[in-house]
């Protein structure tokens, strides 16, 4: 056991709720006169003290622009910045750090691929496949691209339980398919897609595959080489790190063949008014001064997750989800939305006769934070024929007691109309 494990886990390797919560200062407050129960983790997770301290330390001691600096601070911040890239490479098992591009978040990572890979390789009549489960950020960039290029967007339908219709996927794939862009785990429902199988099938028709892993990276083991995905996008802030930082893994041959994303400093080798030559990977895609402090602080989030171990995190979250699902049957008028067999720790639901927003407001009044609405998945809501849902999403620091509070509050809320 490492020091953090020893501090947080019991002898059987199970996470002790009270102990892990000590590392998340934000959780120790009252909201509307009740202890905060934070269940909006699919939107963003809270940050452990290690991350907060790293950010403070960066601005107190190390702040300097990275690369090409002739002084000690510049070299120190560059080392720390590149160390996070290295940690991310290990975290997702990318073959090399050059294939790990630092972005603002999953949305920018996807837009980068749409603007560069799309610009260079998608032509009129080509087909791009996405799914009904996608977040708007994995729909709109492809719509814009298809519009510009005269390409066609195809959508994998879902079953009523929120699982992808894999037979329909097989039928959509053809030699016209140039790219498949699908979410690993649905933000709105929690469905985990059979992504490895989907990637294999896409490759069989010669298509490339982009994984939107915004919702899965904090929960599931990730090995981009084993998955064999061509592109992999995720955000730091959903993995206990700061906002404004994300990553794009791309296979080297593809990244080298793609044109740059934005022009500016950092991404060039030489500039004259006649011609500019572009920098090598990964800098070719990293124009401008990045979010240095937050990137560095994210390194601490990765170390935190690594030390706890994804298996222990998942075990705890699965326990919470199972408990929540079991107890939800006590709530009159409870309508589960998304009941896939394989799910990350997301409980999406409606309450009969009560608008999701009202449920959210009443929960907030009891100190319980959830998200309500369409979760940036309007086409999915249309398919499910709901205006929106209430979504409680669990992280490693949530407790059984908090879930009991959620259930008791929902029972009381439901009574208003059921």
């Amino acid at each position: 056991m490492n020091d953090l494990e020893a501090a947080i886990k019991n002898n059987s390797g199970i996470i002790v709720e009270d102990k892990i919560r000590e590392y998340f200062p934000i959780l120790h407050q009252e909201v509307n006169g009740r202890p905060l129960a934070y269940f909006d983790n699919a939107a963003t997770t809270q940050k452990p003290t290690q991350v907060i301290e790293a950010l403070r330390k960066y601005y107190e001691l190390d702040n300097s622009n990275i690369h090409r600096g002739a002084h000690t601070l510049a070299s120190r911040s560059t080392d720390y910045f590149e160390n996070t890239r290295h940690l991310v490479r290990e975290f997702i098992n990318a073959p090399s750090s050059e294939e790990v591009i630092i972005t603002k978040g999953t949305t920018e990572s996807i837009n980068l691929v749409a603007s560069t890979f799309g610009r260079a390789f998608i032509k009129k009549g080509d087909e791009i496949i996405i799914s009904t489960l996608e977040h708007h950020s994995n729909i709109v960039p492809w719509q814009i691209l298809c519009e510009e290029k005269g390409a066609i967007l195809k959508i994998i339908p879902i079953h009523d339980n929120g699982e992808l219709d894999m037979e329909a996927y097989r039928q959509l794939l053809s030699e016209k398919t140039k790219l498949v862009a699908v979410v690993h785990a649905s933000n709105a429902l929690g469905t985990i897609n059979p992504i490895k199988d989907m990637i294999r099938q896409a490759h069989a028709v010669g298509a490339k595959f982009l994984m939107d892993a915004a919702q899965s990276t904090a929960h599931l083991d990730i090995d981009v080489q084993d998955l064999d995905c061509d592109f992999f996008a995720f955000s730091a802030h959903k993995v206990y790190g700061p906002t404004g930082v994300g990553f794009l893994f791309g296979k080297r041959a593809l990244l080298e063949a793609m044109p740059p994303y934005q022009g500016g400093g950092e991404m060039i080798k030489e500039v004259s008014f006649e011609k500019t030559t572009f920098n090598d990977l990964p800098y070719k895609f990293e124009a401008g001064t990045p979010n240095i402090g937050d990137v560095i602080a994210f390194g601490e989030a990765i170390k935190f997750v690594n030390k706890l171990g994804k298996e222990a995190i998942r075990d705890h979250e699965n326990l919470l989800l199972k408990h929540a699902v079991e107890r939800s049957s006590e709530i009159k008028g409870f309508i589960p939305i998304g009941t896939a067999k394989e799910k990350v720790s997301v409980l999406s639901f409606g309450i009969n006769n009560i608008h999701p927003f009202d449920v959210g407001l009443m929960l907030d009044a009891s100190g319980i934070a959830v998200r309500t609405g369409h979760h940036c998945t309007q086409p999915l809501m249309d398919r499910l024929q709901v205006e929106g849902t209430v979504r409680a999403s669990f992280a490693v620091y949530n407790t059984i007691e908090e879930i009991d509070r959620l259930i008791e509050s929902l029972k009381r809320i439901s009574k208003r109309k059921n």
């Binding site: 509307n32 009560i354 608008h355 927003f357 009202d358 907030d364």
Partner: protein, 143 residues
Amino acid sequence: MSEINRIQEEIIGEFEILGDDKESTIYYIMELGDQLPEFPEKDKVEDNIIKGCQSKVWLTSSLEEGKVHFQADSNTDITKGLISLLIRVLSGQPADEIINADLYFIEKIGMGNIIGSQRSNGLTAMIKQMKLFAIAYKAKINA
């Protein structure tokens, strides 16, 4: 004291009894919404929707014996409760009084804190629409 201000004072008094407990305040507002007269389904059309609200709010008005009457509905209970407060204060008053009304009760009962800044914008849109109706009736009366 004008009738509008008398009703505002009444509401402020009711909310004072609730204290600063957010949960009971929200439940109370929702119950007020439950008591609104039923809104005709046929009036739930695009033209009657107030722009600028996050929830759907339908608002219609009528002029009866020189006074402006409002009817409203919403797809969320909290918004329905809020608009029921506005209706209680403004409905049945002369157009001029509505146009010049200073709705100070909203701040006094701490509505911004209860519903958040985005919802407050929606509340402003509702008030604006009610005043616009009053302005239109005033023009009609004077024509």
